[in-house]
Symmetry: C2
């Protein structure tokens, strides 16, 4: 099994909790009785759902197998990514880095930020956005040169998906790109390496029974990572 360092934005959906994201948490609870000191309990109709989520959550907390690292701003993210990566350097090949999405492609540098609130009365606004530095380059070259590094490529145009993925592998010299299209990403992805392309897809039955494509992605990645770690590379 893996121990996971989970670098995430503060208000993003989170593991375990994401299954409750459509609920107002207070609707899952009720006061048990009418008097002033009535205790709060979980409504019986939500016991089953919460119990299975909580069981998994308590397990990873007990095992200390999930470290939550939270960021808010882009610069916090960039710093924490470097710090977390550097901490994993000692694991050599055993470390897998899974860079699920660009936190931002563009930003406004601090010295170009206006001092005061922008007045909408002054009419339409021209914004000039700079490129966020690509951290994949120092990450692969300097911070975790031995690790198994996985990046994502999301496109809306399927004709450029694989070529863009191969370009990224060539440019950053990492191990694998998970390539997906915005429209179909929950149903199919490609795991692209320099010499191979594995298609992963979900059937309608699998999707309607609540399974998610990430289960298959993670299984396949664990297998590829295990081959990557074995002395002869198989």
């Amino acid at each position: 099994g893996y121990a996971v360092v989970f670098l995430h934005r503060n208000r993003s959906l989170k593991p375990f909790l994401r299954h409750l994201s459509t609920y107002n948490f207070l609707d899952l609870l009720e006061l048990d009785g009418e008097n002033q000191d009535a205790p709060v309990k979980v409504k019986s109709e939500h016991q089953k759902r919460l119990s299975s989520i909580l069981r998994d959550y308590e397990q990873v907390q007990r095992d200390r197998s999930l470290l939550w690292v939270e960021f808010q701003s882009l610069s916090e993210y960039l710093h924490l990514l470097q710090m977390c990566s550097t901490c994993l350097q000692g694991l050599g090949k055993s470390a897998m880095l899974y860079l699920a999405a660009a936190v931002a492609d563009f930003y406004i540098p601090k010295d170009q930020m206006p001092e005061h609130k922008i007045q909408s009365a002054e009419g339409p606004l021209q914004l000039s956005l700079q490129l966020v530095p690509k951290m994949l380059e120092p990450l692969v070259k300097e911070w975790v040169p031995e690790a198994f590094v996985v990046s994502f490529k999301l496109e809306t145009n399927k004709d450029i998906l694989v070529s863009k993925s191969l370009q990224a592998l060539d440019k950053y010299q990492h191990q694998l790109v998970i390539a997906n299209l915005l429209e179909t990403r929950k149903r199919e992805v490609k795991l692209v390496t320099t010499d191979n392309c594995v298609d992963i897809s979900m059937t309608t039955e699998e999707l309607s029974s609540g399974h998610e494509i990430e289960e298959k992605i993670v299984r396949e990645l664990a297998s590829l990572h295990s081959k990557f770690c074995s002395p002869d590379g198989h």
Copy 2:
């Protein structure tokens, strides 16, 4: 008392729940025992906090005094604002509309949206943002011409705060602007009307004991609204 139509963005902080925003909900719960069907219960150390929040929440749900209306996109917001306002028209002067913040000052019209994901490889990005139409104008003139309408003015420069508020009152012909500065907004606001300016502020003691400036704002607004509704205007 008031019945409230609460028009809010889907992932915004919400009444009652906002007091729990620093918690992972799952940390408030625990499995009661070790066997497979152990029930989920609220941890005893969180009983008191949850009980007082839940009591207030259940009260408004029971009274049906809070209607949650959720939007996601800007266009959804603009439509729902018109619909909710029109529904309140029949209340005449008894309706108070409290437009707490601009949902967005600028936007990109649909026909100027790129079809495909913007390629960051192509370098820095120039964005041209259009002004969001000011709904306060049709709202006051057409949708709820008799209502007590309150808008907000948030600035970062205190020198323009009152003049901007008076400009808004003159332009939109509504009743009141709550004027505040980004840095001090939790400690002081001004309630600006065409002929008066009421300063509201919180002492350090009030703030440190957990009170919020909104309590005073709401009390003052209710009083002004009540005068506004009375036949002779006092």
